[in-house]
Symmetry: C2
Subunit: 255 residues, 2 copies
DNA sequence: CGTGCTGTTGAGGACGATCAATGACGGTGG
DNA sequence: CCACCGTCATTGATCGTCCTCAACAGCACG
């Protein structure tokens, strides 16, 4: 089902640790300094906004459990999903770094979520004291940019089937990277459509194709991968843009 | 014509200054420290690569004059242009920050270009000594990401005409931001097509439409804006994602 | 004076959008 | 407990945008 994820881990901070170790933050001291400034934990219900379009940025938000998406609502009501976010991902770094920008971009909870916050002052202090942390954040932003580029390529060049398969592959790997090893992607067909730039109707047909082929499980009401190799092949997927060599190593990916 | 741009300014460093002042680097000392490490200047001919896919990153590259594009060549030979780059833009920050990543992304000169380089050691020293510089670079990356998001949205949601108009608007503003105030965009229809995710044939028809409408000048062999307000309107363009309030202020942009 | 790139034009076809309707499920309030 | 509603998933039909293929003209280059 869509609303269900692994129950929030003990603290939710383990995902943060995983993420930042992956970004090259190997010093335990730096990591602890980051943990120390993550203040409040708040539960957010599915389909509520975690970061509002245009809200005044006084603090940073980090996802600790659940799945969210960075998106923008257009004039005509349609929604473009730029990227999905998982535990350990920061939701509003862009606002912290370029506050004049991006009033229209928001983050929405796709499942029930748990978030932590860091007030800007603490952030500044911490960055000043831990230069390595600063680099890690820069890396996090770059990784996000890399994901945008890949999505751009995906939408621009690939046919609907590859496109959808691609997005699913990415989510599977990113879940794996934070030790969520299931085969189900906690996302609706509507979400997929908004991320892929396709109509829901067409996504539905594509999903059915993928099920018929055997790449996805026949489970109605859930996007569940049945044959990941087939899916990777259909997607022409190469996950190297994700900067997760450890996870990718057991993902037969070539070219 | 396409190959021609303003002749390279005295040093090319003025564009760099403009860019980084726009990114909030207001201290003259920080700026000077950046200038000091920009080493070699090299001329690159149109359609040569400035940064090769997979080249070993030992230095940073900054564009000092000319126009380039960040792109990737796909298996089938097609090219996706992620973004255009102008004097003051760094070409390979992504490699510096996430060297494990992005072997396939390259930067190509769209006109004759002049570049400067910074060796990684100098960069590290400079960043360590000038924390503000570090933030400015982070901002530069964020701005690039913002441009990727906008392009993503553009390709994903808009019809071909708006799409092309949008890209042209962006380039016009970005040129303006570095004091190049002409109405011609130094880009071919092929480039436009690769950036917009459309076929050249279709872009050609769209360009002709835009000319017929009067938004572009009737000049064959060049993309030249004739009526920017009309173009902005057709594009549904809102340039706020570019983080250039000073430039945008005289660009009647709303919503 | 060819060769190559860019721009231009025409015809046909495919992929995906749009519109419309229905079923299944879950939650809510009477 | 049941009626109601909203979201998600599904199906069919039609239509349009944009792609592909193919050819050719102009200009720049050697």
């Amino acid at each position: 089902m869509v609303g269900s994820m692994k129950p929030p881990q003990a603290s939710g901070l383990d995902a943060l640790a995983l993420k930042f170790r992956g970004l090259g933050l190997d010093s335990e001291a730096d990591l602890q300094s980051l943990f120390r400034i993550v203040r409040i934990r708040e539960a957010i219900n599915r389909s509520e906004n975690i970061v509002d379009a245009g809200s005044p940025p006084k603090q940073l938000t980090v996802l600790l459990a659940g799945v969210a998406c960075l998106h923008k609502r257009l004039e005509d009501g349609t929604r473009q999903i730029y990227s999905f976010q998982y535990p350990g991902d920061f939701c509003d770094l862009h606002r912290y770094v370029l506050p004049e920008l991006d009033q229209a971009v928001a983050v929405m909870a796709l499942t029930d979520c748990l978030i932590g916050t860091i007030c800007h002052d603490d952030m500044e202090r911490s960055l000043a004291q831990h230069p390595k942390l600063s680099l890690a954040f820069w890396r996090a932003s770059m990784l996000e940019a890399s994901i945008f580029r890949e999505r751009l390529l995906n939408i621009s060049r690939r046919a609907a089937l590859s496109r959808v398969a691609n997005i699913i592959c990415e989510q599977l790997i990113r879940l794996e990277a934070i030790n969520i090893n299931g085969t189900a992607i906690p996302v609706t067909q509507v979400d997929l459509a908004d991320a892929a730039g396709l109509s829901v109707v067409h996504v539905n047909r594509i999903v059915q194709d993928l099920r018929r082929i055997g790449a996805l499980s026949k489970e109605r009401r859930s996007i569940e991968v049945a044959d990941r190799e087939r899916l990777v092949e259909l997607a022409n997927f190469n996950g190297r843009y994700l900067n997760m060599p450890n996870v990718l190593s057991h993902w037969k990916i070539d070219a």
